[in-house]
């Protein structure tokens, strides 16, 4: 049995990308300490990629159940607005973060209800919140960019602890926590079981609909916290732009990471690396001076490459070709 793991491919891709950058810029991987903070391109990649990582983390569970959530970008906008409204009326930091994450979870619950209970196709069900959600966010903000002046809040996204940026620390902690959760409890097995064969899982005594719905709730909560980080990062809630098109990058990170869109396999570690790969690609484009307009093209090529690498058909064809060659020689 061949290993189905995509992690080696992912690491190879990442190594290739970093290698290309090192050739052009030998200091690409250099990390220095400036003003008591870690400073360097890898730090930037982790910090800037933290929001995509977090969205992708939530989506990983949803995609592993065989679903998808297009609404995460809009949820980011909504929860950013919630943060601004709470903080600007004098609420505490803890209450604000709890409210934002709760609002995200609530949105996820709505999606979960439509998908798991009513049986609407995930793309369509979450498309509704994707459209309406941004409107809700704009409604909350009154169409303004709400400025947030709260150092403690900003610290969540831009602060440093012992020279290490806080946002990636938080996100890594959430990854580790989620990984532990899905692997140390039976949650991971349940999610994969439902994604692989929902009927059989139900017949084996699983509350399949509940597992699915909870995956959406978790995804919504992650999007909610992403909204917090986004708002904190720019010290403002921007209902119009926050999280715009973020769902595509996040889905992309999940799929690159080896969690199949058809469901059934879940790789938290893969998602983490997938998100880093995407952020590294974006950073590479800044450094290589790729014109912003054609930036989607390398992304398209990366998607194609990754999809092809994951295709069993292609692998077996290449293997057959290889065998024929060997036989001939």
């Amino acid at each position: 049995m061949k290993s189905r793991s995509t992690l080696p491919w992912l690491l190879a891709g990442l190594a290739l990308l970093i290698g290309l950058n090192l050739v052009a810029n030998p200091a690409f991987l250099k990390i220095t300490v400036q003003d008591g903070h870690l400073f360097g391109v890898p730090v930037d990649i982790l910090t800037q990629g933290s929001r995509t990582m977090l969205l992708a983390l939530g989506l990983t569970l949803v995609i592993a159940t065989g679903g998808v959530d297009l609404s995460v970008g809009s949820v980011v906008a909504i929860t950013g607005a919630v943060c601004a409204l709470m903080l600007n009326t004098g609420a505490g930091l803890a209450a604000t973060v709890a409210a934002a994450v709760g609002a995200g979870a609530l949105a996820g619950g709505g999606n979960g209800l439509l998908v798991a209970r009513i049986g609407i196709q995930p793309i369509v069900a979450t498309l509704i919140l994707m459209v309406a959600g941004r409107g809700i966010a704009q409604l909350l903000c009154g169409g303004q960019v709400l400025i947030i002046a709260n150092p403690a809040f900003e610290f969540l996204a831009n602060g440093f602890v012992l020279g290490v940026p806080v946002a990636p620390l938080l996100v890594v902690a959430l990854f580790v926590g989620t990984h532990a959760f899905v692997r140390r409890t039976a949650a991971g097995l349940f999610i994969e079981a439902v994604g692989d064969n929902e009927t059989a899982s139900r017949f084996a005594g699983l509350a399949a609909a509940r597992v699915k719905a909870l995956a959406y709730v978790f995804c919504g909560a992650c999007a909610g916290f992403t909204g917090v980080l986004t708002a904190a990062n720019i010290r403002a809630a921007d209902a119009n732009r926050a999280g715009e098109n973020a769902e595509l990058d996040a889905i992309f990170a999940v799929v690159v990471g080896g969690t199949a869109l058809t469901g059934g396999r879940l790789s938290i570690m893969g998602t983490f690396l997938g998100a880093i790969l995407i952020q590294t690609l974006a950073t590479t484009m800044y450094y290589r001076g790729v014109p912003p307009a054609v930036a989607p093209v390398p992304k398209a090529l990366l998607i194609l490459a990754v999809s092809l690498l994951q295709s069993e058909q292609l692998r077996s064809r290449v293997a057959a070709l290889w065998r024929r060659k060997e036989a001939a020689s």
């Binding site: 400036q34 169409g143 720019i234 403002a236 921007d238 732009r241």
Partner: protein, 320 residues
């Protein structure tokens, strides 16, 4: 099949619900001045202030304003204009998203004898009779003002990095071109790198971080297509251990409140704005046009530029 038929009551229920939804908006009052406004979208605070100004002024004057949000798509705006023509409004106001592609629908308006007023940005057309007049702010003008200010401030010399807006969007296109045109006179002012920050603060910050690592101290000037990206860039510069406004000159556009504050504090050197408060001028113009008076083909709303000299003074009176 029979289940389907028994489901019919449900259908009617749903239809009734729809009726209520649409009925909520009710019938519009008659015999008042009816103006259709095809706004581009709600993509920024500037834009929202612009919409609010148009709405508030209409309410004040008792004008029945048909407001439409194009959500950043020209096709939606054209759809709206065609709908205004169908509804027989007295005048149409358009804030065009892009410069081209308006001839067919404007011809329809002309056939229906409805005057069209362009705001915010003009259009390219072979037939200038298609619209009555243009009231700008235009993005091009803003870019030019920024270039001129910069040339004076740094005495025509320096390396610039440009934080562009969302690729393909009109403000990004205009502000990029205008700035480049404005710099043409100053050969020693060079744009050494440009990337899109998608008009987002986080985007501006991210791109600026990359630029700082790539070019190091070679960067003298940052030109950002909007304040959000400039504020993000300022953060990046601070985190790199430099002083925004001193070590690197920041020029940006929009003049949102936070940016004017930053100018006053010296973190940003200059921000250009064209006031979004178009309402009064637009309705005055419409009144004149409908009364048969002549109006100038082109007029501009009040332009302002905030730098260290006037920012602090302007702060208390900012409306957005």
């Amino acid at each position: 099949m029979f289940t389907l038929i028994t489901r019919q009551p449900f259908l009617f229920l749903a239809a009734a619900a729809l009726l209520t939804v649409t009925g909520l908006f009710g019938a519009a009052p008659k015999k008042t001045l009816k103006v259709g406004f095809a706004q581009t979208g709600a993509e920024s605070a500037w834009r929202t202030a612009n919409s609010d100004s148009m709405k508030a002024e209409a309410a004040k004057r008792g004008i029945d304003l048909k407001f439409s949000d194009g959500q950043g798509k020209q096709e939606n705006q054209i759809r709206a204009v065609r709908s205004f023509i169908t509804q027989g409004v007295d005048a149409i106001v358009i804030a065009p998203i892009v410069e081209t592609g308006w001839d067919p629908v404007l011809r329809e308006a002309k056939r229906a004898k409805i005057p069209v007023i362009l705001t915010d940005r003009t259009i390219q057309t072979t037939d200038a009779s298609l619209f009555v007049c243009f009231i700008g702010s235009d993005f091009y003008e803003e870019g030019k003002m920024a270039a001129d200010w910069l040339a004076k401030a740094v005495s025509g010399k320096g390396n610039i990095v440009e934080l562009q807006g969302t690729p393909g969007s009109a403000p990004a296109n205009e502000r990029r071109k205008a700035f480049a045109d404005g710099l043409a006179k100053y050969p020693s002012l060079k744009i050494i790198d440009a990337q899109s920050g998608n008009f987002e603060r986080s985007g501006g910050k991210q791109v600026m971080e990359a630029f700082l690592k790539k070019h190091g101290k070679a960067i003298n000037v940052v030109y950002a297509h909007n304040d959000d990206m400039a504020l993000g860039a300022a953060q990046a510069i601070e985190e790199a251990g430099l002083k925004p406004g001193k070590d690197i000159t920041l020029v940006s556009i929009d003049a949102i409140g936070e940016a004017v504050k930053a100018v006053a504090a010296g973190r940003i050197n200059c921000t250009v704005e064209c006031s979004p408060l178009f309402g009064p001028k637009v309705y005055d113009t419409i009144a004149k046009v409908l009364a048969g008076e002549k109006v100038p083909k082109k007029s501009f709303n009040q332009d302002e530029l905030f730098d260290a000299t006037n920012a602090a003074k302007a702060l208390p009176t900012r409306q957005y």
